[in-house]
């Protein structure tokens, strides 16, 4: 069964009264549960926009053209209220961003616990879950550190722990290795690959790093707001080419 089933996704951003940017011009995507998929493409290709739509952070345009559909885990996301979409983000999705995006004041464990609380977990249980999630990314000993006191790689692993804490079906990563040196990038990618294999989370990554794409099961290539290729990764050379 497909975790995500989307057709005719379009998005136009209005930057000012006269300037609009057509970011997505009609995209169909389906992602199977348990897959690890990379969305690749140059800047401006619409890959981030696609992820924002699939992550329910934005809604697809509904005017001018065929009606878009967006099914996530059997739910029609095009008709949901902001409140319902927020709930799905809290309970069924985990987000990992390029610039880590941890809340600066609370310690690592509290950052992770916050996501659990948003999903409706009690404060005590959230704390326990946060410690477990941090341990699963190898940061048990950093639980009490504030983001400022952690290295970039460590911060990103805290962010992954935060994305994992509610055991979500889908983990979305927007250039998760983009701000890391290559050693740390390999490290973070390894963590993502491992949780996909061992725990069955579906992982969807936006990246222009070919090595990230090579580590995934499938690569969706985009250009100018459209999908231009959708290929299974067989070996590294196929992706790099």
């Amino acid at each position: 069964m497909n975790l995500i089933e989307a057709t005719d996704l379009r998005k136009t951003y209005r930057l000012s009264r006269r300037t609009t940017v057509e970011a997505l011009l009609g995209v169909d995507v389906s992602i199977k549960a348990g897959e690890m998929v990379a969305i690749m493409g140059p800047s401006g290709s619409g890959k981030s926009t696609l992820m924002h739509l699939l992550g329910l952070l934005h809604s697809p345009d509904t005017d001018d053209g065929p009606k878009p559909t967006l099914w996530i885990d059997g739910v029609d996301a095009t008709t949901l209220s902001d409140r319902d979409r927020t709930q799905i983000r809290a309970r069924s999705m985990g987000f990992v961003f390029q610039s880590f995006n941890l809340v600066p004041t609370p310690a690592a464990a509290e950052n992770v616990a916050l996501a659990a609380e948003y999903a409706g977990t009690s404060r005590g249980a959230a704390r326990t879950a946060a410690r477990e999630a941090l341990a699963s990314v190898g940061l048990a000993d950093r639980a009490g550190h504030r983001p400022m006191e952690l290295s970039g790689g460590e911060q990103q692993r805290v962010a992954i722990a935060r994305a994992l804490v509610n055991d979500p079906k889908l983990i979305l990563g927007d250039e998760p290795t983009g701000n890391l040196d290559s050693a740390r990038a390999v490290d973070v990618l390894g963590v993502l690959r491992r949780i996909n294999r061992e725990r069955g989370h579906t992982v969807l990554l936006v990246t222009h790093d070919a090595e990230v794409g090579a580590a995934c099961d499938r690569v969706i290539r985009m250009r100018d707001g459209r999908v231009i290729a959708d290929e299974r990764v067989t070996d590294m050379t196929a992706v790099a080419a």
Binding site: H52, R83, Q87, R89, R91, F97, A115
Partner: protein
């Protein structure tokens, strides 16, 4: 804890905002305490004079002052139950009675003349005057007892004479606290001694009375009797309890409104500074709010977090303001006590109201910026630098 850490992130600005609220609450506490004191003075005053008629000289030290004989004229009027003739003498021989506070007075009266209809003061020490008491004996109101540090059995100097204190009263928070009760004859003689020598020669001490407290019979119209008294006794002014309330109560309400108004204005300024602080805080934390929205923080939750934070600013300001106000009230009352002028009355109700007011003010001021934050587009907020 989490919240306190958020506040401590911007120490200077948060401190200044809290200070703004503190000053507003401080002003509210001090002014309300002043209003409390005045109100309790007025309401006890109202009780003291309720249902009574106060008859005084229409023209103090005039050519034909009212005399003790008027007491009999008034007592004969229909509807009058009792007449309590009194002689009021300033506490200080030079005629001063103690500045802005309640006038300190020596009050001479005949015990029992009110036939038990008067306001019954409660004794703190010793006993009340009786008809058998004569000479330089005195029962002191609570302010006087405290000012001179005496209780029953001690002595106190009045007009250069040593009076034996036979009793002291409990506080009423009203005029009687500054009254020294002496036998009528003693007050008459003290009064005469204050008159200019030539004038004094023409006055018989035993005839002196400068105030009558008139008690109407049950169910009688005090206002009507007051009018009859004014018609009967030459040169007299008769004021009933209801009129007392009008004369004193009206201006007091306006006074209360003014001082509480001043305090409220300072709170509005404090409230605006909370709005400003929270608005800036929201702008600074745009990205953080975007993160929280993205990972599943609901709008309601974002609003709640920020409103709670603003409420905490208000609460801290409120607590500090009340504490500061209490310090001022206690110090001012201590200073005033030596002169018998206790101006402030900080009640627990006022303190609680002020703290609650500060907190709610903070929360209300936080709502607008918080709502703005909750409406942010999470993606745009995440890109915000």
């Amino acid at each position: 804890m989490r919240l306190l850490r958020e506040l401590s992130r911007r120490k200077l600005r948060t401190t200044l905002t809290i200070l703004g609220i503190t000053i507003g609450i401080w002003a509210l506490v001090v002014f309300s305490s002043l209003a409390n004191k005045i109100n309790s003075f007025i309401s006890t005053g109202g009780d003291l004079y309720a249902g009574k008629i106060i008859v005084t000289d229409g023209e103090p030290f005039g050519t034909s002052p009212i005399t003790l004989s008027a007491a009999d004229d008034i007592a004969r009027l229909a509807g009058v139950a009792a007449v309590d003739p009194q002689v009021l003498v300033p506490w200080e021989a030079d005629g001063t009675g103690g500045g802005f506070g309640i006038q300190k007075l020596v009050v001479g009266s005949v015990p029992g003349a009110d036939k038990g209809l008067g306001y019954q003061l409660e004794l703190a020490t010793g006993r009340a005057l009786t008809a058998q008491d004569t000479g330089d004996v005195v029962v002191l109101g609570s302010d006087l007892a405290r000012e001179f540090g005496v209780v029953a059995g001690g002595t106190v100097q009045i007009h250069g004479r040593a009076f034996q204190v036979i009793g002291t009263y409990l506080p009423t928070l009203a005029a009687p606290d500054a009254d020294a009760k002496v036998p009528l004859a003693t007050a008459q003689e003290m009064y005469r001694a204050l008159l200019p020598p030539l004038f004094a020669d023409a006055v018989v001490a035993a005839d002196i009375a400068n105030q009558f407290i008139v008690y109407p019979e049950e169910g009688q119209d005090a206002d009507a009797i007051a009018l009859t008294i004014e018609a009967t006794v030459a040169n007299s002014v008769a004021l009933s309890g209801a009129q007392f309330d009008e004369v004193i109560g009206g201006p007091t309400l306006i006074f209360n409104a003014i001082i509480v108004g001043v305090a409220l204005i300072s709170l509005v300024v404090g409230g605006l500074s909370v709005i400003n602080t929270m608005a800036m805080s929201v702008t600074e934390r745009t990205r953080e709010i975007g993160i929280k929205r993205a990972i599943g923080g609901s709008r309601r939750r974002i609003v709640r977090e920020l409103v709670t934070e603003a409420g905490l600013i208000g609460l801290i300001g409120g607590l500090l303001g009340v504490a500061l106000g209490a310090v001022v009230v206690v110090l001012a009352n201590d200073l005033g006590r030596s002169s018998g002028t206790v101006l402030f009355d900080l009640t627990p109700g006022t303190a609680l109201f002020a703290i609650a007011f500060g907190t709610i003010l903070g929360m209300i001021a936080g709502i607008v910026p918080a709502w703005g934050a909750a409406r942010l587009d999470p993606v745009a907020a995440l890109r915000y630098e």
